[in-house]
Point group: C2
Chain length 471, copies 2
């Protein structure tokens, strides 16, 4: 429960209609896209501008009340669940495109703008903003910045981090900072812009972002390659890159995913394939034709059993459906779907998929794997039932093994979903005790009273790393 005077002051800052603490508002903001996590906030506030955010922060800091900044809550790491209560600050009213600068190829936006709306506005002007997280139809630009969202185009174009040039942000004490600018080069001090991207709302509240836009590719071509041999698919991925081709998209689905997707979307996919690669190249027409022809010959050399190249956009959309429906198809199987994003160097994809399958078998859980093969960012996805604690325990054990396997292969516990609360116990496995200590020091520098999204990134307890019987 918040102090009634504080509540009154919050209402004065944002207007009575924009602070809520009714049951419906609290429950709606007690969870996000992450399964099996819920905690009620004490209030929900909807600021209209930076000044309101700053005033709110000054007030909450004086009362030592935690604040959880939230876009659409589509994250998958529990990043916006108010674990320690406090106020959820929703950015939806700050959803305007402030400027598109055609001379400098930048866009300046408020954090609450929906990613897909931003992208389609940018595209209507003949420009291109590559980060395309699967949640883009509901996610916000601010949420993408908080999580450093990736997507299907990450291999060729990078992730959100590569497109954030400057930020305005409110600190825990209510002060406003500005980092970077419409500048392709800026080395004035430590790079606070890149530090804030991916900091999951634990360091500052982003209130405005200047994003880099790029010229759009002129054309795009899409193909599928299907393999009975998992290693053939993995070798194809490496061979494409080794041939000095960076495709726009290079996605992977394993056999369990193929079967579920086909049952769901009736695409006529062969159920006996161990892997399907979805490959897209974009750019100048001549380059695209040449690259796709070369990729096709690599697929053939690596014994792909079937190759389909889309003749037009309509056929391409059909091929894309296979990959796009993966999560939805898997989510139909059981009541609870847990999607992870263990990531490895791209040369280790086949090893990782095999390890995932062994681990699933060992713990007797159902895990299907799909993801971004080109950048080694896999999504092992468990279909389970949150009402069965014994099974959930086995799923958790399996993911623990998966994180460990990813790190053993030179990878990481999260490629694009973030640490949040779900992966906090494993973060030390990746960054080490000294790395954790440095990160705690950075948190301290920004937020000495631990008011910004407390309980995220830093776990109360780190999981012990045990020697696991590889059986």
């Amino acid at each position: 429960m918040l102090n009634p005077t504080l509540v009154e002051q919050l209402r004065q800052i944002v207007g009575a209609a924009h602070y809520r603490d009714d049951r419906e508002a609290l429950v709606t903001h007690s969870y996000d896209g992450t399964p099996m996590l819920q905690a009620l906030p004490d209030g929900v506030v909807y600021p209209a501008n930076t000044e309101q955010v700053a005033a709110i922060m000054k007030l909450l800091a004086a009362h030592r009340v935690p604040v959880i900044t939230r876009g659409s809550g589509s994250n998958l790491c529990g990043g916006t669940v108010p674990l320690q209560g406090g106020v959820v600050m929703v950015t939806h009213r700050m959803n305007r495109m402030l400027e598109i600068d055609l001379e400098n190829l930048t866009a300046t936006v408020q954090p609450g703008m929906i990613t897909a709306e931003f992208i389609s506005h940018v595209e209507s002007l003949g420009l291109f903003y590559p980060p395309d997280p699967s949640s883009m139809r509901i996610s916000t630009i601010g949420g993408n910045i908080a999580e450093c969202s990736g997507g299907l185009r990450g291999l060729k174009y990078g992730t959100t981090k590569d497109y954030v040039l400057g930020l305005e942000a409110v600190l825990a004490n209510g002060e406003i900072i500005r980092t970077g600018g419409k500048l392709m080069k800026d080395v004035a001090g430590y790079d606070l812009t890149k530090l804030l991207v991916g900091s999951e709302g634990t360091l500052a509240i982003v209130t405005e972002a200047t994003l880099k836009l790029v010229p759009p590719p002129k054309t795009k071509k899409t193909m599928l390659a299907m393999y009975r041999d998992l290693y053939g698919a993995a070798r194809t991925v490496s061979k494409i890159i080794e041939s000095r081709i960076i495709p726009a998209t290079l996605e992977f689905m394993d056999n369990p995913t193929i079967r579920v997707v086909d049952d769901f979307a009736k695409l006529g996919l062969p159920h006996d394939m161990e892997a399907i690669l979805l490959i897209e190249q974009d750019g100048e027409p001549e380059t695209v034709e040449r690259d796709i022809a070369l990729i096709r010959s690599i697929c053939e050399a690596e014994s792909a059993d079937r190759i389909e190249v889309a003749a037009d956009r309509e056929e391409a959309e059909k091929l894309l459906t296979a990959r796009r429906s993966a999560f939805t198809a898997l989510a139909r199987l059981r009541p609870t779907t847990i999607l992870e994003d263990a990531t490895v160097p791209r040369s280790k994809i086949a090893d990782m998929v095999l390890r995932i399958n062994e681990i699933a078998k060992k713990h007797n859980v159902a895990i299907a794997t799909f993801g971004h093969a080109g950048d080694g960012n896999l999504h092992p996805t468990a279909t389970t039932d949150a009402r069965d604690p014994e099974e959930i325990h086995r799923v958790e054990q399996a993911f623990e093994d998966i994180f460990e396997a990813a790190i053993a292969l030179g990878g990481t516990i999260t490629g694009e979903h973030g640490v949040g609360v779900v992966k906090a116990p494993y973060l030390e496995w990746k960054v080490g005790a000294a790395g954790m200590e440095i990160m705690r020091g950075i948190k301290q520098a920004f937020d000495p009273d631990n008011l910004l999204n407390p309980g995220k990134v830093f776990a109360k307890e780190t999981r012990k790393r045990v020697v696991i019987d590889r059986g």
Copy 2:
């Protein structure tokens, strides 16, 4: 003077030959590429590997002795001058290429490797590492990482930051951390990799770097466009980008630079031009031809007085000579050459060049400007004489005005040279008091005893920003 026991221990760590405190070694490491700055260290140490660096740091931390990490000392911000004495740690013995991974397109190198040697090795394998600072023939990869070096290809390909995927670094207390990896996506905690890049040796000592390589462009074409109208040149820059073309290189020289370069290199450049643009495009042959034709038509529409497109690599080299000899030609004029790198949004280049000319006139100093027009990164260069304190004072006043003008135009005090000691008094102008406070907190988290390159980035005194008579 260092404690003799400490010196003995340093000798034991690296071997007697690899610690020096003779006069020659101290003087050689008392200055770097920056004019008018000198301070003697107490000793110079040449570690052979990470373990030695860690042991040295444990020892120096116990004795509270500052350490200044140094590659070739080619930086231009006083970044490696041992202002507070201490030990200069030279990375030259740690100069090996540890691995080129063709499957993941990464290179893992030690920090002391010379940039140009790294690049030519990479190119001999048919790959490409774009960052190309002008100092690349002497600079080291570690120095490039410390300063986040840019170069002529920054516009299209980005700077050092965009190519560092992972680091091994030794902390002030001698602990070793590893950040990132051979991973295109990694959001496990705060991005320490990008934070260390450009941190100028003030946060940690980089002992190993994993760098991203990319497929090389198939071909390249070079052209010069000359203008009597400065704004015509500036509009050309903006129009090229607005036309959705990102050239590989888009360089600028103003009239004073053109004249000096021509006197030096006898290129037959017309002395009455206000600006020359050097433009290069690379990529697939068809794309390059199309882009260069379109760029040519933009130059013509913006009233370029003369356009030269190189027919072959030999002609291209001749055109490149004009830009490449700018610094050398200017350096011949007077005993002291001060090269700055005020940076503005690219749409503001003409405004900035005119402001620089006004400022030079006001303070009665000679400043020629050239630089990377495509990314707004200008190099106003003062030719002066360090032996004349009155003139040097006027030059300093002029640069103070230039930094202020850059910030007023939405720019920054340094695009690629770093803050070091030279620009430390101005850093607060760009990042604000709250930004400085956060940066101090970050420094504290990494280096609580202020042993790593002390006196850099953070100035003892910040210059007051005064209202200047624009006369």
